[in-house]
Amino acid sequence: MINVSGVSHHFGELPVLAGVDLELGEHRIGFIGANGSGKSTLARTFNGLLVPDSGEVTVGGISVRRNATLARRHVGFIFSDADNQIIMPTVAEDVAIGLKRLHLPADEVASRVATALDRAGLSAHADHSPHLLSGGQKQMLALAAVLITEPHILICDEPTTLLDLHNVAIFQKTLRELDQQVILMTHHLEVLGDFDRVIVMEQGAVYFDGAPSDAVESYRELIARRPVAGGGFTARSVR
């Protein structure tokens, strides 16, 4: 359970979160909204990557502001660019490093890593460099590296942005099978069909909060009302 209470934040003079109050207890929750609406900023407050100017976020009752390290043990985080999540030179080592703090025997680490790689479909790449994997495989590696630490909650900040449709489907299926609470920030609206709750963010605040189909409709209407700026390109201007 994540509790967000009166969370506000500014980047310089620009307000990016404006008094967000949420109780996030459902199994799978989606966040949608235009670029700059505050989805990613809010996601980063859930595990202390960003400490908001005001307000409080608690994870399972733990204050993220007071004890981010402890909160992060409960919250796994997947970023949109999997390349930036790679820390170790081989796939197996990148997954295994998450188990460091558990001080497990080497054979137990090897067994857990093998299971995680198998679930991610990466067993054949255990000793390969992560940078040789495809975009979809890298994101599955990021997922395996996070899930091996058995977090209670998984935050995914636009994890499918750089993936093709096939890999989006694989990622979606994997998320669906997880026991953990999943909170997904996304622009792929079709992924949210079977979610329990979808929240639309607009200008740093909650614009709509409800069932997936209603939320998506609300978001489409919101975007349709927005004027399209910019003159576009003409053949002459390109020349």
Binding site: M1, M88, P89, R101, S129
Partner: protein, 311 residues
């Protein structure tokens, strides 16, 4: 690159990293103290044989020495002109042999093992302010980042070519540097998000404890004296909380008591040593039977809130 490690099951792969480092150190010292070209040549030959029988192959041996070949030629030429050709041969042979030996180590040893070795070796220097965990993590990131840097250089050059311009060195270096700085911020975030920024030795282990915990020994906002160092696994959800009030405020469901018949199962976490203790064992004493940490005897007054009791 990419990992230097080449998977295998040979004796060289199985040997402990520390043993390989020690042997490398001793043999390198021998090679660099040695003036006899035959002895240096014999060590190089042994290294090549090891490449062969460990399954690494001679191609990898060549790949290891390829980057230093221009340096070898330079040494030969400079020493040949200003000193003697024999001297140049000895110096360049030492270099080639050293690189071959180092190649054997890096190709047969996982980066994790090397990092563990660095971590353990730097351990005694903690009291001098050294941070072994950050040092080993930095080493790993350096190795891992090499392909990222080369991909960034390639992308920058291609961006110039796509616009019909020739890439100048400053024109490539500046955008690459900017991109790497941005990327390093994102990698820093990922390290934090994965809980890897702190030394695992100093970060508590054991199962997660939920609720408004205030430290790493399971104290919470309700009970936080010196001896409040146990967490209780709740029968209803299987999660550890420091106390009934934490569960009540956080879990969102009522407490289910542990039946008497199940009180032999591990359900108590010692916040000090992180041992999971059987409930009945915990109930028999006021200290951790594993590490001797004192528990709060007053907790006994609340046992009916967690466990079915005779009364």
């Amino acid at each position: 690159m990419i990992s230097l490690y080449a998977a295998g099951t040979s004796f060289l792969h199985r040997a402990p990293a520390v043993a390989k480092f020690l042997v490398l150190f001793v043999v390198l010292a021998l090679v660099f103290l040695q003036e006899n070209l035959y002895v240096i040549g014999a060590v190089a030959a042994i290294a090549l044989v090891l490449f062969g029988i460990s399954g690494l192959g001679l191609r990898r041996a060549f790949r290891a020495i390829r980057p230093v070949l221009p340096v070898v030629v330079l040494i030969l030429v400079v020493q040949g002109i200003f000193y003697s050709f024999e001297r140049g041969t000895v110096l360049s042979s030492r270099l080639l042999t050293a690189v071959l030996l180092a190649g054997l180590l890096t190709y047969s040893t996982r980066t994790t093992e090397i990092l563990d070795l660095v971590y353990r070796t730097l351990g005694p220097f903690r009291r001098l302010g050294a941070n072994p965990w950050q040092a080993s993590l930095a080493l790993s990131l350096t190795i891992t980042s090499i392909p990222v840097v080369s991909a960034s250089v390639r992308a920058s050059r291609e961006a110039y070519l796509a616009r019909g311009e020739k890439a100048s060195i400053p024109g490539v270096v500046v955008p690459v540097a900017v991109r790497l700085i941005r990327s390093s911020e994102a990698i820093g975030d990922a390290i934090s998000a994965r809980g890897l920024e702190e030394d695992p030795r100093t970060v508590g282990n054991g199962p997660a404890v939920l609720g408004p915990v205030v430290d790493d020994e399971t104290r919470c906002i309700h009970y936080h004296s010196d001896v409040d160092v146990v967490a209780i696994k709740f029968k209803c959800c299987g999660d550890y909380y420091p106390c009934h009030a934490c569960h009540e405020e956080t879990a969102g469901h009522p407490i289910e008591l542990w039946p008497t018949a199940e009180q032999g199962t591990p359900g108590i976490l010692c916040g000090v040593c992180k041992s999971e203790l059987p409930i009945d064992e915990y109930m028999r004493g006021d200290e951790c039977p594993r590490c001797g940490a004192l528990f709060n005897p007053g907790c006994r007054l609340h046992s009916h809130l967690y466990f079915q009791t005779a009364s």
